[in-house]
């Protein structure tokens, strides 16, 4: 097991390096000189420009710059500073909780709604509720998050006025619409996946055994059918958390939420290279760790899987 974890971690080292390297290169190859842009209309004295260049290692060859940066990240948790002198870590610390709240809401939403819909659909196969779930999941999966987000904003925010249209001034209730938008597609995918898994499980021999043991229908479904059907769903949800981070960029900018996604978007536009690289590095690490955890979780949930 430990060996497996180590192997997996080693496997992810090149991925992490390359992903961050590419992003680093793209960001710092941006057209225009960020220092000149920083100084605005009034030209900065040459000495000062040189000092800043030195501070950000801009005079080093590209690969050295990158290496210095990553060294800082991994040895001191130093994600660099913006050209205004604000530590990137500071920005991350300020925006991350908002995004995590949003992601947590979405995660809970898709878990609850997706699983309930999947169970109803699978247990009452071919009945009305199943048809309803099937039709709605087909539609939701086929819609882009962008359209879903606007639709929710227009209908429930603007038209019905049930939720705030944008911003997070009204506290947790402000997160509901964005979270639904963020989690909608995954909710539908969970429902579908669970439905087919459950239908398959309910026809399996071991569920027949459970019935033959004289268990109540609820226990047959819950303890025997569902226990097995949930394994792929749980691993999907885990892996999906990483994907969700990409979705926050859109959702946060539509609902004007001051989170990590919105931040990275603003930083890209403002050519704040260090912030972009910092956040991307964080996201890549998040992805790598999450995937490893999902694999380990899979082994815990399904005793037939052994990593050695």
């Amino acid at each position: 097991m430990t060996q497996y974890i180590i192997r997996r971690l080693l496997q992810f080292i090149p991925v992490t390096i390359f992903a961050t390297l590419i992003v680093y290169w793209l960001v710092f190859s941006m057209p225009g000189d960020p220092i000149r842009a920083l100084s605005g209309d009034r030209p900065m004295p040459e000495a000062q420009v040189e000092a800043i260049r030195e501070q950000y290692n801009l005079n080093d060859p590209f690969l050295v710059q990158y290496a210095k940066y990553m060294w800082g990240v991994f040895t001191q948790g130093d994600f660099g500073t913006t050209f205004q002198g604000r530590p990137v870590l500071d920005i991350i610390q300020q925006t991350l909780p908002t995004t995590l709240t949003l992601a947590a809401f979405a995660f809970v939403f898709q878990g609850i709604i997706g699983i309930i819909a999947g169970i109803l659909s699978g247990v009452y196969k071919d009945r009305f509720i199943d048809r309803l779930v099937q039709v709605s999941t087909v539609v939701v999966v086929a819609l882009p998050t962008l359209a879903i987000a606007f639709l929710l904003q227009l209908v429930f925010g603007l038209n019905l006025g049930l939720f705030p249209i944008a911003g997070i001034q009204q506290g947790l209730v402000s997160y509901i619409l964005p979270a639904i938008a963020l989690g909608a597609v995954s909710t539908a995918m969970i429902a579908r996946m669970l439905r087919s898994e459950l239908i398959e499980a309910l026809q399996s021999d071991y569920v027949r055994t459970a019935t033959a043991k004289g268990l109540k229908r609820g226990r047959v479904i819950g303890r025997h059918g569902l226990r097995n059907s949930l394994i792929p769903v749980v691993t999907f949800m885990g892996a999906d958390l990483a994907t969700m981070m990409g979705g926050t960029i859109v959702v946060e900018s539509i609902f004007n939420i001051p989170g990590l996604g919105g931040q990275i978007f603003r930083s890209i536009q403002a050519q704040e290279g260090t912030v972009v690289v910092g956040i991307v590095t964080l996201l890549v690490l998040f992805y790598v760790t999450l995937n490893l955890l999902v694999d380990l979780l899979y082994a815990v949930l399904d005793p037939r899987i052994r990593y050695d």
């Binding site: 819609l143 882009p144 606007f150 990483a242 990409g246 536009q269």
Partner: protein, 304 residues
């Protein structure tokens, strides 16, 4: 050697007719199940309309989307301007209609470019395995590690003038591994089949085995996904353009319309509603079409 070649030739000759009928019945089966699938009918009709819209927008409106007199700006929908007018006073209906072209063009270009790459790379990786497969595996890991939108965002931001070509290019870069991985898996499963082993044992050339035996049988799952992927790309393009890193003015695009309308959501919601509906419908149609195709060609895939 000549002996072997003869054997090979006769083997392929006798194989051919059998193969043809099998293929024919596969596609005939697929067509039969498609015809009865209401989702397929719906999406086919919608796509027909949307693609006509992209090719011949003039059929749908006689207004010029670029005629924008400021004195008629910010009008609500009316008989004259079905979708109202935008901030600049352009007829919004014609702008939304003309927006179909860029979206669908990018969707199709990207999806088919990815399909082309996937076929070649997937065949090579799945058939020969070896280092190509290993490199492909790592590359896919790499692309998955960076969220699609984020990668495209960073990349596109570097490009100063972005037209259909630039946006499509970036989307292909981040898109091809997914489809290639699918194709590779499909090739891998076909390569293990006995008729492929038989052809190999008879000394058929690799290129012929790939062309005659593997490609036709491995393509099924990828075809459906190409349509699904077109939908995904259109959604991604609209999203990126909405975020301001996709197409740029003066291009007519749903993403730009959404971007500009966002600030007026409370005053002029119709500016948001119409492009939203069209983006939604277009993505929806392609994805539904793709799912219907996938289910028809490979009924087992219905699971997921």
């Amino acid at each position: 050697m000549t002996e072997l070649n003869k054997v090979d030739a006769s083997a392929t000759v006798t194989n051919e007719p059998a193969k043809k009928t099998e293929d024919a019945s596969l596609w005939a089966d697929a067509w039969r199940s498609l015809r009865r699938n209401p989702w397929f009918i719906t999406s086919a009709v919608l796509l027909l309309i949307l693609i006509t819209m992209a090719l011949f927008p003039q059929l749908f409106t006689d207004q010029d989307p670029r005629h924008c007199p400021l004195d008629r700006s910010r009008q609500e929908p009316s008989a004259e301007h079905w979708f109202g007018t935008d901030i600049q006073g352009c007829d919004y209906y014609s702008r939304v209609i003309y927006g179909a072209r860029n979206s669908i063009a990018i969707g199709l270009i990207v999806a088919f470019s990815c399909l082309g790459i996937a076929i070649v790379m997937g065949l090579v990786a799945g058939y020969f395995r070896g280092w190509v497969d290993a490199v492909l595996g790592r590359l896919t890991d790499l692309v998955f590690a960076i969220p699609y939108i984020l990668g495209a965002l960073v990349f596109l931001n570097v490009i100063e003038t972005r037209g259909v070509r630039e946006v499509a290019f970036v989307l292909v870069i981040f898109g091809w591994p997914t489809m290639t991985r699918l194709m590779r898996g499909s090739v891998l499963s076909v390569t293990g089949q006995e008729y492929v082993l038989a052809a190999k044992a008879l000394g058929a050339k690799n290129i012929n085995i790939m062309r005659r035996h593997i490609l036709p049988n491995a393509l099924g799952p990828v075809v459906g996904y190409t349509a699904i992927y077109t939908g995904i790309v259109i959604g991604a393009e609209a999203t990126l353009t909405f975020l301001g890193v996709g197409l740029q003015l003066p291009a007519i695009s749903w993403g730009i319309q959404l971007n500009q309308a966002q600030g007026y959501i409370t005053q002029l919601p119709h500016l948001l509603v119409f492009p939203m509906i069209f983006v939604g419908l277009t993505v929806f149609s392609f994805m539904i079409m793709g799912e219907a195709l996938r289910d028809a060609i490979d009924p087992k895939s219905k699971k997921r």
